[in-house]
Each structure stands twice: as structure tokens, then as C-alpha cells.
């Protein structure tokens, strides 16, 4: 898996592909949500270009009905996951046949996360609430569940290694890698599809 965390670039829709622009028009996002969508595609394109060179020019990064990104147009299937927060974008890419998830959580959320985690009944496993939240979001993406799945879920998070946590209660257990940085936390996971 290729994992990058990049700064969001200015949301220039003119740098999207034709298919991406059409897709964006259909989504009818406005304001910062629209900017975020564009910035995510541009970040994905930068990472794709770094990994695939000129072949990346022919790829589009669209989104499924649930908002999950997907790469189209290439000869070889690619799995992708994107996460935006605090002006940074995490991009996870891998050759197809895998499920990928990545989540970045900005420290700006640190103040309100303890109350949210308490509400969800999550305790322990990691001292860093941003890392816990990133792992939960990562598990949601991996299982393609909506945020509503968290309410009433028998959510449990247990340490599974030095930088790993196991998230239970959202379908099959998800094992996520987690790292805590000064300004954000990052969680990611990859498993066979």
C-alpha cells in the first residue's frame, strides 16, 4: 500500500479531468465541501502521478454512492481511500483486490473527542483520542458503514500491537495501524477483498 499525507492544494476545478468535473457537477456540492472534494482529487492525482508516472493522466477519481472514492480508467484496478481534515489529505493506494481505508484526524478535534468517545462507550486502548477516532473512522470505511452504525454498536477498541488497534463491533474486526503526530493522528488498514 502507498500512503501519503499531503497539504490540500487550492481547489482548482480546471485541473480535474472531464469525468471528474461532470461527477462533481452531479454531486451539487457547494462551498467548502466542494473545495474539499476537488482538493481530494488533486491530492490523489499527485500521488497517482508519483507512483504511476504518465499513466496517471488517464485515470479518474470518482466516488461511489456512499461517497467512497474509486479510481477508474486504468488498465490495472487500483484501490483508493481518501481522508480530509485540517487542510491535509491522506491518500492510500494499492493495486486492486484489496480493501483500503485511511483516516486523518486533526488535533483541532481533540477537545470534543473525549465526550464523543464516552458517548460511544469507547474507553482505554489508546491515550490519544484523535488516534482512537481515526481508527474508528478507518474501521467504518473498511466495512463501508455509515456514521449511524456507531450509535448503539457494541464498539470495542483493543491494543493489537505497538502501533495497532483492533476495532470490534462494526462487522468483522478491523485491525488498524495508528500513528500520533503533533498536529494530527493517522489510521490506516488494508485487507484482502
Amino acid at each position: 500500500m502507498w500512503l501519503s499525507v499531503v497539504r490540500a492544494s487550492p481547489p482548482r476545478a480546471d485541473l480535474l479531468t472531464d469525468s471528474e468535473r461532470d461527477h462533481l457537477d452531479r454531486l451539487r456540492h457547494r462551498g467548502s465541501r466542494r473545495d474539499e472534494w476537488i482538493a481530494g482529487r488533486l491530492a490523489a492525482r499527485r500521488v497517482l502521478a508519483r507512483r504511476l508516472g504518465a499513466a496517471a493522466q488517464h485515470l479518474d477519481v470518482l466516488s461511489d454512492e456512499d461517497g467512497a472514492p474509486r479510481v477508474t480508467g486504468g488498465a490495472v484496478p487500483l484501490a483508493i481511500s481518501l481522508s480530509h481534515d485540517g487542510g491535509r489529505i491522506a491518500v492510500a493506494l494499492a493495486p486492486g483486490g484489496v480493501r483500503l481505508a485511511v483516516d486523518v484526524c486533526d488535533r483541532a478535534h481533540a477537545g470534543r473527542l473525549p465526550a464523543i468517545l464516552r458517548r460511544l462507550g469507547v474507553t482505554g486502548a489508546h491515550r490519544d483520542p484523535c488516534a482512537l477516532w481515526a481508527a474508528i473512522e478507518c474501521a467504518l470505511k473498511l466495512r463501508r458503514r455509515a456514521v449511524t452504525a456507531l450509535l448503539g454498536a457494541p464498539l470495542k477498541i483493543a491494543a493489537a500491537g505497538a502501533h495497532q488497534v483492533r476495532v470490534s463491533g462494526l462487522g468483522a474486526d478491523a485491525v488498524c495501524q495508528v500513528v500520533s503526530r503533533a498536529d494530527h493522528a493517522l489510521a490506516w488498514a488494508e485487507e484482502a477483498a
Binding site: 465541501r33 478535534h109 470534543r112 464523543i116 458517548r119 467504518l140
Partner: protein
């Protein structure tokens, strides 16, 4: 008699639940039926922040079904207000 939820209160609550109030400011002026996800990045952490704030403010419990009903087709201020009103009246939330 329970007063209906004040949409202005709800706007303030959502802006407060966002990590960056400047990014969430469009909620202050959006239409009550505008999908919030098209106006601001209505991310999971903001959704859950709003749930916690709603539960504190209105002394109620938001269930998965209630939240799913409010988010179906895109959460709007009116849908969230209807969810809260329905819960406070102890009737199922209308979609």
C-alpha cells in the same frame, strides 16, 4: 407543551460542534432544507459532535434509527429539527 426547536439554535449548535467555525459558518446562512453536506464538510466527527450537543441541549437520546432518518437523503436543518421534535414528543422521527 414543548416548544419546537429553534432553527437558529440548531445553526449555532452545528457551528460550535465544528472544529473550525469559519468553515462551518455557511450553516448560519444556508436554507433550512439545504443538505448540510453540500454546504460544509459535514464529517462524521461533526455529526457525532452534533449528536452529543443535541443530547446535552435537549436532554434526549439520539438513536441510530433517528439519526439515520435525519441523514437519509442528506441532513438538513429542518430534518434535524424534526428529529429532535419527534424525539421530545416521544414519537418516531419522520424522515
Amino acid at each position: 407543551m414543548i416548544e419546537p426547536v429553534d432553527i437558529a439554535d440548531l445553526r449555532a449548535l452545528i457551528i460550535t460542534a465544528a472544529p473550525d467555525p469559519a468553515l462551518a459558518r455557511p450553516v448560519a446562512g444556508c436554507g433550512p432544507d439545504d443538505p448540510l453536506d453540500s454546504v460544509i464538510p459535514f464529517s462524521s466527527v461533526i455529526v457525532l459532535g452534533v449528536v452529543v450537543a443535541v443530547e446535552d441541549r435537549y436532554r434526549m437520546r439520539v438513536t441510530r434509527q433517528m439519526l439515520a432518518g435525519a441523514l437519509e437523503g442528506g441532513a438538513t436543518l429542518n430534518r434535524l429539527a424534526a428529529m429532535i421534535d419527534a424525539a421530545r414528543a416521544d414519537t418516531p422521527a419522520a424522515p
